[in-house]
Symmetry: C2
Subunit: 310 residues, 2 copies
């Protein structure tokens, strides 16, 4: 069974890791959001790509879900000493990734090739693809003006009120090599429990991606449980944009692309309403607290995909 997963950062990385524990390398391709990428201290930083790679390499921090295990922070301390910008927390081990990626990008290597070689170096067999090699940047429209995503997300801790999003550059972007081909070959597409607005939204905005996902082949997993996001600003964004945050809102969000939907047991009361949208449902435990939990959810999602196609 060939599966393509669409993923953002921490939540997406967890389910992608679960899928990678079950599927062989040739059975799984993970397409990752790069609209959160940004320049910081002259470095090109790809937060979602790194989070997914570190998760699959088994080197991600278990405590935070992002960054690297056994990280040290001496560069950051040095920056603080000098009054440099420390709002984005760069670990010493993590920094190597940004330095080497930036060096190669400046030599003209496409991001997708760099990621492929990093994966080799880190012993990751499964395919991890950036959604695009082009520069696409999420701009968050807010009551205090337009903000670059990381300025909104990290520097201003998601405090400004959101009025909309722009995925700048998306219309002119091309999907990275392998992205469309992997979707064409896919027996199933898994939309990971990442933020629908700013993690999955940008991926689906790249020309060719949404239209290549065949009807009846995609399932989405709700990142909203009991009306709240497991982490991050997804629920806050739904509220500020005039929706009541819930698994139902997410199912409606994805109704044009996902014909199957996975919601948490806590939200089983919403199952009927989601089914009434013409969407098939799976109710299960969706919180992934442990490595086994990631594998368990991945197993249920794959079984659900298989059932859907019977």
């Amino acid at each position: 069974m060939r599966i393509v997963a669409l993923a953002g950062g921490v939540g997406g990385a967890k389910l992608a890791h679960g899928l990678a524990q079950i599927l062989a390398p040739h059975e799984l391709t993970i397409i990752v959001n790069t609209a959160d990428d940004f320049e910081h201290l002259g470095l090109h930083i790809s937060p979602d790509l790194d989070t997914v790679c570190y998760a699959l390499a088994g080197t991600s921090s278990r405590r935070t879900g992002w960054g690297r295990r056994d990280e040290t922070w001496n560069t950051l301390k040095g920056l603080q000493e000098l009054g440099g910008p420390t709002w984005f927390r760069l670990g010493d081990r993590d920094l190597a990734t940004h330095l080497e990626r930036t060096r190669r990008l400046q030599l003209g290597e496409p991001l997708s090739q760099i990621v492929r070689e990093f994966c080799q170096a880190w012993g990751i067999g499964h395919g991890i693809l950036p959604m695009t090699d082009s520069a696409v940047r999420t701009i968050v429209r807010t009551d205090v003006g337009d903000l670059d995503f990381q300025a909104y997300f990290v520097e201003r801790r998601c405090e400004p009120q959101v009025t909309g999003f722009e995925f700048r550059g998306a219309a002119q972007a091309s999907a990275a090599p392998g992205v469309i081909a992997s979707l064409e070959r896919a027996d199933g597409v898994v939309i990971c429990p990442s933020n629908p607005w700013v993690s999955i939204g940008p991926i689906l905005s790249i020309p060719g991606i949404r239209t290549t996902i065949e009807a009846g082949k995609a399932v989405a997993i709700s990142p909203i449980i009991g009306g709240e996001a497991v982490r991050g600003p997804a629920a806050k964004m739904y509220r500020e944009l005039g929706f009541r945050p819930s698994a139902l809102a997410v199912a409606e969000h994805y109704r044009d692309v996902a014909s199957g939907f996975v919601l948490d047991e806590i939200d089983s009361g919403l199952e009927r309403q989601i089914q009434d949208l013409g969407i098939r449902t799976l109710v299960t435990k969706t919180l992934m607290r442990t490595t086994a939990g990631r594998r368990r959810l991945a197993r249920h999602v794959l079984d659900f995909l298989r059932d859907m196609q019977k």
Copy 2:
């Protein structure tokens, strides 16, 4: 007594540190070579400036003389994992200096201003000035072609045979703010025991510096002891350029600028020949193995300068 010291890396930093232990902040200005500066991994690295700053801040590695005390190497390990360039050893704490300097240079701040603010942050009261805010780069002419200084020094471990040097950009460069004024005010100039060819040579090549050093006011300390350099390729360079490396060769090298010369007790047999050049001499222990040793040599050099001017 107002003193200006000219310094390169490790040897220069040690004597500068010795001088700083004796002289009040307003009595000492250190002018540092920047012709070894280079771009690496997109970062602007100023090895000599950092070595002098870390020495005066008391945060330099006692083991190596360069880099920072209690350094960790996790970024470098990460780079190695990715097959990135690791020939230049970047420590995690040290990296903060390069990141923040690069960030500020890209905002258009002159290097001299950045160094001044770094010194404030590090609690350094004495003045440390880059020789210039302009880009001056040492090119080492060798039997295998022209090499950037760090490519010669670190990457190729000084192995190519030297045929000459070029301080590219020096003729068009201006001394950094404060450099000429400090020399005009100076009661004495100390040419530290740094490499005469590639550490002190570039400083003296900046228009206005050599000519502002008043006759009779400068002493040089030999970096060659017993025919060998304390560290680095100075002796090898003398040999390859057709000179017998010795304290005498260094005294001849500086005869147009330094009317006083400090040589090691080991080389006392050369004292008469140096005096025959019309140069006043001081014979003393010049190896600086400890902090006290730095202070001791600095004290002797200052006494010698005072005696010279009686």
